[in-house]
């Protein structure tokens, strides 16, 4: 069994969002970067759990990024990935990223490809689906549970107001959300071992992105909270009814 986990580098969840260069670049100064939480907590940890249940399993990690992504890749290796591939390119077009990953994935026959359900920065939710299409594989999105029984995979996926249980024969691409696994913290043995695990850097293919980001914006500042006295809570109801016209 070979599992590929796609990992992305994102700013920490508490990072201050600001832009530079005339609002064309994310302000990286002072920002701590992490593995995208959906990729790490759910996709990667589930892959590791599947390996623990079946030691014949290999867990490969893939990232599209520059050398500055190496620390987060090492952390993913410390959590339990066996080896990693970094495609040495920067891009924020999902198709460009998916197509780069697809080129590498085609050369290895993966049984299971896991991604996070989205990155917490671009909220794209699209690399997994694109990758599945480029590899002509089925895709189950927004998974909350992933179980393997031989060559069959049972996946619970989020739907409006509930969950749907899907069954699919491997190979398959699955995007993972909360419920798939529980966050883990790498132990010292994992951290030491990660240093000697292979991290292969490959050069990107010539692929044209389909979109470009022209500029970034921050939302207009809120006018500020209108406080109502706790002695007259009915005034709040009046404001919501008459001013905000919510009901």
């Amino acid at each position: 069994m070979k599992i590929l986990v796609c990992i992305s580098k994102t700013p920490d969840t508490t990072a201050k969002i600001a832009f530079t260069d005339n609002n064309t670049k994310f302000a990286e100064a002072g920002i701590q970067f992490i593995i995208n939480p959906y990729d790490e907590w759910y996709a990667l940890v589930r892959a590791i759990e599947l390996k623990e249940a079946n030691p014949d399993t290999q867990v490969h990690l893939i990232n599209v990024g520059g050398p500055d992504a190496d620390p987060i890749i090492r952390k993913a290796l410390a959590l339990g990935g066996d080896e990693a591939i970094r495609i040495n390119a920067n891009g924020n077009d999902s198709y460009y990223i998916a197509a780069q990953i697809a080129e590498v994935a085609k050369q290895n026959s993966y049984d299971l490809i896991l991604t996070g359900k989205e990155t917490i920065d671009y909220n794209g939710s699209s690399v997994g689906g694109m990758l599945a299409e480029l590899l002509d594989l089925p895709f189950v999105s927004l998974a909350t549970k992933v179980d393997l029984n031989g060559t069959t995979c049972t996946v619970n996926r989020e739907i409006e107001g509930g969950e749907e249980v899907n069954e699919v024969t491997l190979p398959v691409v699955i995007s993972c959300g909360k419920g798939v696994a529980e966050q883990r913290i790498p132990n010292m043995r994992g951290i030491m071992g990660a240093r000697s695990k292979p991290l292969k850097v490959v050069e990107p293919q010539a692929i044209d992105p389909l979109t470009t980001i022209v500029s970034f914006e921050l939302p207009p500042a809120k006018a500020g909270v209108k406080l109502v006295s706790p002695d007259h809570p009915e005034e709040l109801v009046r404001l919501l009814h008459e001013e905000a016209k919510l009901f």
Partner: protein
């Protein structure tokens, strides 16, 4: 070259977020000097032609029982063929569960540039630029699509539905449908409640409510308003409320018209799930609670004292 919108359905009804997408598609078509058409796969809901009121001139149907079960691969392939038959150059989806699964596949299939989570109409003064939400609504990006065919998924509650008059012409598609590789073996829906993801009004509780026995302060207000109920992660983690109610970074991201938070401090991870809400109301006894900075209205006070009065006032106003 019409604008094509995917009409996602559930239990014989076109989903509310697809109606928003349809209305958006109609406006996009109007700006491009063309018309909007819909596509619906599987069983045909009754009264489909009535969606003409949202500006759809035509709705393409493909009635096949197998399409009543969702498989993104099959859906994307069928839609790709329909796009070429219809000659559509702009395709719109709701950024809902199924839109998030199909649109990326369709994008890769057609090599068509994709913007996921659009929050506004495209600007075409210089190319084709769509504004999308980033960092769960804490920022936006203006994204230029450079390909001939363009795909947009619309964030829900980002575009106000415009209702006019008219009926859509129903047209049957003839497209070969492959066998699905994903089979649906069970659907577990929570019934009898307003689905949180689509709710316009949401009442939410946090640890400040002290225990599940006090949740009537949330549910009574929700019931009076016809609102959905939600909770913070801390509350779901201790099982006071079910996990499907958890909103925030790792839970559900929602954008209702009203998010009414009771006893939630407003940690940044929680805000990530709700800060696209149009109006945020915060009830908290701690004046320093960070949630007040993101709120539109608030009361610094004890929820156990103010909530019963609020519920009574809403009931009075609603004649309940």
């Amino acid at each position: 070259m019409p604008v094509l919108v995917f009409l996602d359905q559930s239990e014989g009804q076109v989903k509310k977020n697809s109606i928003e997408a349809a209305s958006y598609a109609a406006k996009v078509a109007e700006l491009a000097g063309t018309t909007a058409e819909g596509i619906i796969l599987g069983s045909i809901p009754t009264g489909l032609a009535e969606l003409g009121v949202y500006g759809l001139k035509k709705i393409h149907t493909l009635k096949q029982e197998t399409l009543d079960h969702f498989d993104a691969q099959i859906f994307a392939k069928v839609i790709a063929e329909a796009v070429s038959v219809i000659g559509a150059k702009i395709i719109v989806f709701s950024n809902n569960v199924n839109g998030k699964a199909i649109a990326p596949r369709l994008s890769a299939h057609l090599k068509a540039g994709l913007v996921m989570g659009a929050i506004d109409l495209p600007v075409t003064t210089d190319g084709f630029v769509v504004k999308k939400s980033l960092f769960s609504g804490k920022a936006f990006a203006n994204v230029s699509i450079k390909t001939e065919i363009k795909i947009i998924t619309l964030n829900h509650n980002s575009y106000k539905v415009i209702k006019g008059e008219g009926a859509a012409e129903i047209s049957e598609l003839s497209v070969q449908v492959d066998r699905a590789k994903v089979s649906v073996i069970a659907v577990n829906k929570i019934t009898g409640e307003v689905p949180l993801a689509e709710a316009e009004l949401v009442i939410s509780g946090g640890r400040g409510l002290k225990g599940p026995e006090n949740w009537h302060l949330v549910t009574d207000l929700a019931k009076a308003l016809g609102a959905a109920t939600a909770c913070s992660r801390a509350v779901a983690d201790v099982d006071w409320r079910p996990h499907h109610e958890h909103v925030g970074q790792t839970g559900l991201t929602i954008a209702p018209n009203l998010y009414f938070a009771i006893g939630i401090s407003g940690a940044i991870q929680h805000l990530a799930g709700v800060n696209r809400s149009k109006v945020i109301v915060v009830i908290n006894k701690d004046p320093e609670a960070p949630f007040f900075k993101a709120a539109d209205y608030g009361i610094v006070g004890d929820a156990f004292e103010v909530m019963p009065k609020i519920i009574d006032e809403v009931k009075r106003l609603k004649g309940l």
